[in-house]
Amino acid sequence: MDSNQAIISLQDISFRYEEHVVLQDVSLTVHEKEFLGIVGPNGSGKSTLLKIILGLLVPQKGQVKVFGASPEEARLRIGYVPQFATFDRNFPISVRETVLQGRLGKTRLIGGYRRQDHELAHQSLEEVELADLAHRPLTSLSGGQLQRVLIARALACQPEILILDEPTAHIDPKVEEGVFELLKRFNQKLTVLVVSHDIGFISRYITRVACLNRTLVCHATSEITGKIIEQLYGAPLRAVHHDTILHTH
């Protein structure tokens, strides 16, 4: 950890949808400039945890603080990259218009975007190496390109934390590596929090991993060595044995 500044702090969070318990007594502290991976099988509550951090869901129990404030108040300091599924891929919108949406909340209320917003959107697209596709319709992009556009949109928010929900779920492994290289570069300036169902790729880039399956267990990636790495790389997450590998803290 580069710094001890806790910027996200969850304390004893429990969340359930009606009778179904999704998260139970989850505590997590994220420090500044950390690159944290949250892994877990489908339905383990990963997206729910993100939505709690973003203030889109309110837990029944526990306390959430982001930058020492409530998640709603801290929202504008977070850049969020959703899963593909949240919008219609055929929506008539250009790459530039999509990225500009990152400026909402910081730009003027009435009328169009400011010139400064356009400049920031352009910079964000350059960061993900897609500046020449700015005028292309979103529907014409490949999965990997679309993912980069969504990352650019989050960067246009000028965030202090970047939160990504399954950023590589719908793209092939070659492109996946590119996305993580990108995140690693952003991590020099930002705190990055990535949710993934696949620990294989992610463990090469992150500083700490949180394994989630209703409850949460954290490990420093340095703790995962030798035989364990083989296991992690060789098998999907469901094959990772918490009890044998991991120290809790």
Binding site: L56, P82, P92, E97, G102, L104, G105, S142
Partner: protein, 290 residues
């Protein structure tokens, strides 16, 4: 065609009808685009039918049915918007209920209104030839209001239509703008009812924008293109119906429907042809460039 043009020059009611169609196309192109991209055609249909309740009540009380329609449409939009925010699962049922109850109330009140009975058919199927000048002024101002609101809040409305969750995270008041959008659709429905009647309104609301969406890939261009198509369909419908002495509303809608069908088939064939050409010209099947 000569007779239509002659009538247009000599008959004020034809000029009003033409102007009514053109004015309606503006709202139709703008709000219709949102209806298509947000897929809220059923909501628009519910609002359109609920409007008869308001028209019936206004008629029963001896007030202007047009004002009654505006109030009923806005009330219906707010109810549907509120229910879908609170109890998303009940949205469908609510729309169905408003749809039918609005119609029933309208029919009963019109039947119970003493004196000369209004032509129910013109509410249901429209009668643009009867559109009075005062109504044109009102439609004009509604157009101005709709276009102005969309211009002022274009970026928020786009964000809310595209990705509600992200918009909420950027502290855009999503519920407010969803409601605003429904109100814009409601006002447009009332305008279009004057042209094609409340039963056929949904075709004129959705199809021009849907056709536009097959060719252009931005919301603003869809609006412009759909408005131009609206000009064409309302004017064409008026001309054909005048020429052959047909009901104007039904003719307009049929023309719109035919154009949509032709365009869809054309676009589909074009895409197939392109895929075939691509697979013929190189042995490796086309993949998207990374």
């Amino acid at each position: 065609m000569n007779t239509f043009l002659e009538a247009l020059v000599s008959q004020p009611f034809m000029q009003n009808a033409l102007l009514g169609g053109l004015l309606a196309s503006v709202a139709c192109g703008v709000a219709g685009t949102y209806v298509v991209v947000r897929r809220i055609g059923y909501i628009a249909g519910g609002i359109a039918h609920a409007v008869l309740g308001g028209m019936g009540l206004a008629y029963f009380l001896g007030r202007s049915p047009f004002i009654g329609a505006i109030i009923a449409a806005l009330v219906a939009a707010l109810i549907i918007g509120w229910v879908s925010m609170r109890w998303k699962k009940q949205e469908d049922t609510t729309i169905s209920a408003l749809w039918a109850i609005g119609m029933a109330v309208g029919v009963l009140l019109i039947a119970r209104t003493p004196g000369y009975n209004v032509d129910l058919m013109s509410y249901l199927f429209g009668n643009i030839l009867m559109i009075p000048k005062s109504q044109l002024t009102l439609i004009f101002w509604l157009d101005v209001g709709i276009v102005l609101l969309v211009l002022l809040f274009f970026k928020q409305l786009l964000a809310v239509s595209f990705d509600e969750e992200f918009a909420a995270l950027r502290q855009v008041p999503v519920n407010f703008f969803s409601m605003l959008l429904l109100c814009l659709v409601a006002l447009t429905v009332v305008i279009l009812i004057q042209v094609v009647g409340l039963i056929l309104v949904i075709a004129l609301l959705a199809l021009p924008a849907a056709i536009a969406g097959q060719y252009v890939h931005s919301l603003s261009r869809m609006m412009l293109f759909a408005t131009l198509l609206g000009f064409f369909f309302t004017t064409g419908g008026l001309a054909v119906s005048y020429q052959y002495d047909l009901p104007s509303g039904a003719t307009t809608v049929l023309l719109t429907g035919l154009a949509y069908l032709t365009s869809s088939i054309g676009v589909c064939l074009w895409r197939r042809w392109q895929v075939r050409r691509a697979t013929h010209s190189c042995s490796i099947p086309e993949t998207r460039a990374e």
